[in-house]
């Protein structure tokens, strides 16, 4: 007397899986944020994203290469560029190159690019100012200092 294998009702599982897929599809963000995970931003309860979207912006990540225990591997801060890390003094040729590209794309326009500076909490402000100065020398005027949005204190 052979017994038929009992059929499992798959409907609830498929429902759940579709719900999960819908959730992941909605929260996923394919946009590359240009944010480097090695940069630990300081927090601020007042800092908010700009109300009006900026015309053009370049994100610059400044931070330290750290060991597993959090200690700094190199004393001086580095600029984290895609694929390589350079010191602030090595930034001039890159700034010039970016500016050339911008002028080719926007002939006759002034520089409307905002330099968005994402800096690690422990980076000396002098290093950031030196970087700003390099950009200023090429004619950039708009800068933005980034901070992590902090939950307001109770």
């Amino acid at each position: 007397m052979a017994m038929d294998a009992p059929e499992v009702d798959m409907t609830p599982m498929i429902d759940c899986v579709f719900q999960l897929i819908t959730f992941f599809m909605l929260v996923i963000n394919f946009e590359s944020t240009q944010a480097d995970e090695r940069v630990k931003l300081p927090e601020s309860e007042i800092a908010k994203p700009p109300k009006v979207k900026r015309e053009d912006e370049v994100t610059i990540n400044v931070g330290f290469i750290r060991n597993a225990d959090g200690s700094k591997r190199v004393k001086d801060p580095l600029v984290f560029l895609p694929g390589e890390d350079v010191s602030i003094s090595q930034m001039t040729p890159r700034i010039k190159k970016d500016l050339q590209m911008y002028k080719l794309q926007h002939p006759g326009d002034g520089i409307k690019t905002t330099i968005k500076l994402r800096s690690d909490s422990e980076v000396p402000i002098g290093a950031i100012q030196d970087l700003i100065k390099l950009y200023q020398e090429e004619g950039y005027e708009k800068f933005a200092l980034q901070a992590m949005e902090e939950a307001p204190k109770e």
């Binding site: 899986v17 601020s44 909490s121 422990e122 700003i132 200092l145 980034q146 992590m148």
Partner: protein, 159 residues
Amino acid sequence: MRRRESALAMVKPDMTPMIDCVFQLMIFFMLTLKFVQAEGTFDINMPADGIPGGFPTEDIKVRLVADADGNLVSLKIGQRHLGNDDRAFERLNSEILRAIGGTPGGPASKDTEVEIDADHKLHYEYVIKAMTACTGRFDQRTQQAIRYIEKIKLAPPRR
């Protein structure tokens, strides 16, 4: 004939390929998902000639002094010492409110510019704290940020 019809009615679609695909999709979305924390921004206008917008403004000078390790030693507004702890930034916030005449959003808020003059070694987080204190405060009652100052600039680097 009747037997063939009832046999057709019993045919159930094989769900296995669809479930396979759905699981593949779910794994893809789970692996590519990145939780990005929200970031805020402080805009600073810093043209090379030093006069943002070409209009001279009334300045409030905030001085931040650092020790050799980059920690805050002293916070000053004008010539007044405010300390070097978290309370110092609260005092700075009160001083800025007083400097704009106690009315956030008024003409003084738009015309006054704060210049932050920090030591070269000072950690970035203290400058952000000073900028937060100068920019305004978060009102618990309305759950809104109240803006004191709109223009903030950094003084030339100190060596």
